[in-house]
Amino acid sequence: MANKTLVPGRGVNGRDRAERRLAVRMTAPSLVIMALVAAVPIGYAIWLSLNQYSVRTAGLSRFVGLENYISALSSSEWWAAFGQTFLFAGLSVSLELALGTAMALLLNLAFKGRALLRTVVLLPYAIITVVSAITWQTMFQPNMGLVTNVLSALGLPGGDVVWLGEHGYAMAVIVLADVWKTTPFAALIILAGLQVISSETYEAAELDGASKWQAFVHITLPLLRPAIVLAAIFRTMDALRVFDLPFVLTRGANGTESMSMLAYTQLRENRLVGEGSALSILTFLTVMVVSVIYVRFAGGNIREVAKEEQ
């Protein structure tokens, strides 16, 4: 574009400096708030996690080094919560990506009622997670839930199961509730990716005699990769932090306790501030490691976006 070279003020040093100064002043309030309420507490959490500290007997604080971490890492509870959280994240994110991609393809087709479909698909996003959990709880109530009733009416297995009372079934309900609420998010990100693929690419493929399926595998999927990876990152980070769904649906019973829930239980219910802090730092580290791995190996586009920002 020709007008780019005309940008005035390029050589004007005064404005340059004024701009930089303004930029610092404009970002400072947000950065200060985030530093005070994110970085400082995390630093404090690390300190707390190195102490034995009980709220029950106020003020009792004793430096114990890594003892809280050692006891957490050698406990079966932590590894169970760790495994369950990853099981939940793996199941729900892969379902959300598959279903989200299918939904996005559907929403990208031109048909009467597309606008209605888009609105309907978006509705679960409006419901708060706690309510979504309650909704699915009522659907799977023994004898009085919609799903259990329909299953027994059809003579299918599962009608007489206490869904939230058994590990595998409870996990299925938790995954389903998450898929229901957040698939729209994945679908919209992927739809945005679909809409920047130009229709000429498909026309060219069609001229070359490619079938629809070939076009999907060789054009759509590769071009959609950045959008799918982005949706995967957002959804995985969220899934690894899961708290509301198991809290409402099972209170963590039947082996559905997530990492966040375990830390919460130690902290609030058992009043073990030191151990609770160690568990929350471990949760934090786990999520960090996963996000770094993601950006490294799957999210080449994320780094490019970051570079472009410079």
Binding site: L22, P41, L106, A126, A192, A227, A263, E309
Partner: protein, 299 residues
């Protein structure tokens, strides 16, 4: 919109023209299988809502037998909810927390987002990465220490004590969304303001902010929904009905008596707080979609 993107500094050669939005493939001749899928998706999205409303209208035997349609629909559950002082308090708390957090986040985030989108700045990529990394923090990592700090300085179980940490998570979301909205505003507008002798801040306040109102509205909706929805901080940092917001109140809702099946009243309360958000989504559907996808894929 395509005219705006054409003016972005990454002056691309004409090899990638934007496809006109209306020309979509497969028009009219939809495979019947696709219709089956459309119906399945609609059912999957809507049936849980139906069941929630259905449950909220039932009492006693009608509830415990799980009738597909309430044979004697009753609004009694709703009456119980509205007469519950704890629920009303929770509603008030949620409104205060969400409104204050959204407003403050929007003010600070619009400054930061403008600087990041437009101004010359050192270490911009690093700052953006730091801001984005806050969104990946598990809330429990700050909930645990805040639980201790707040108890010592008296912010535990107060509205302010919830607003501050929620702001920390609302800010990056707002900054991220607003940055991509600000980038879409043509640069020429500021340039002409500079020509007229405006300072960068005046250009921001008088030229950019008014143009960014749709983006600000979109961001406000997204932030409001996420703050309203947030649960972990709310449940960790509050203990009394005076400070509890709606999600926590509902999670701890119990029946009027031990023998009462509280599912009816819980469902009624759930419907009550879902209706306003559903209306918001219906009204602002386009905005929500553009906000959720802003900057994500447009690049």
């Amino acid at each position: 919109m395509s005219t705006l993107t054409a003016e972005r500094p990454t002056a691309e050669p004409a090899t990638r023209p934007r496809a006109p939005k209306r020309r979509l493939r497969g028009e009219a001749k939809l495979n019947p299988l696709v219709w089956v899928f459309v119906v399945a998706v609609m059912g999957f999205s809507l049936i849980p809502f139906y069941w929630l409303v259905n449950t909220s209208l039932k009492k006693g035997a009608s509830l415990s037998q799980g009738e597909l349609f309430p044979s004697q629909p009753t609004f009694e559950n709703y009456l119980v909810v509205f007469q519950n002082p704890e629920f009303l308090l929770a509603l008030r708390n949620s409104v205060i927390i969400a409104v204050v957090t959204t407003t403050v986040a929007l003010v600070f985030a619009s400054f930061a987002a403008y600087a990041l989108a437009r101004l010359k700045m050192r270490r911009k990529a690093l700052i953006l990465t730091l801001i984005l990394s806050v969104t990946t923090f598990p809330a429990i990592a700050i909930a645990a220490p805040l639980f201790s700090i707040w108890r010592e300085i008296g912010l535990y179980d107060t509205l302010l004590g919830l607003i501050i940490p929620k702001l920390t998570f609302a800010l990056p979301l707002a900054i991220y969304t607003l940055t991509s909205f600000f980038k879409e505003i043509p640069r020429e507008l500021e340039e002409s303001a500079y020509m007229d002798g405006a300072t960068p801040f005046t250009a921001f306040r008088k030229v950019i902010l008014p143009l960014a109102v749709p983006g600000l509205a979109t961001t406000a909706i997204l932030v409001f929904i996420s703050v309203w929805n947030e649960f972990l901080l709310a449940v960790t940092l509050t203990t009394s009905p005076e400070a509890r917001p709606v999600p926590v109140a509902i999670a701890f809702f119990s029946g009027t008596s031990e023998f009462d099946q509280p599912l009816g009243t819980i469902s009624a309360a759930s419907v009550i707080i879902t209706v306003p958000l559903v209306i918001l989504v219906l009204l602002c559907q386009k905005r929500i979609v553009s906000g959720m996808t802003a900057g994500a894929v447009k690049g």
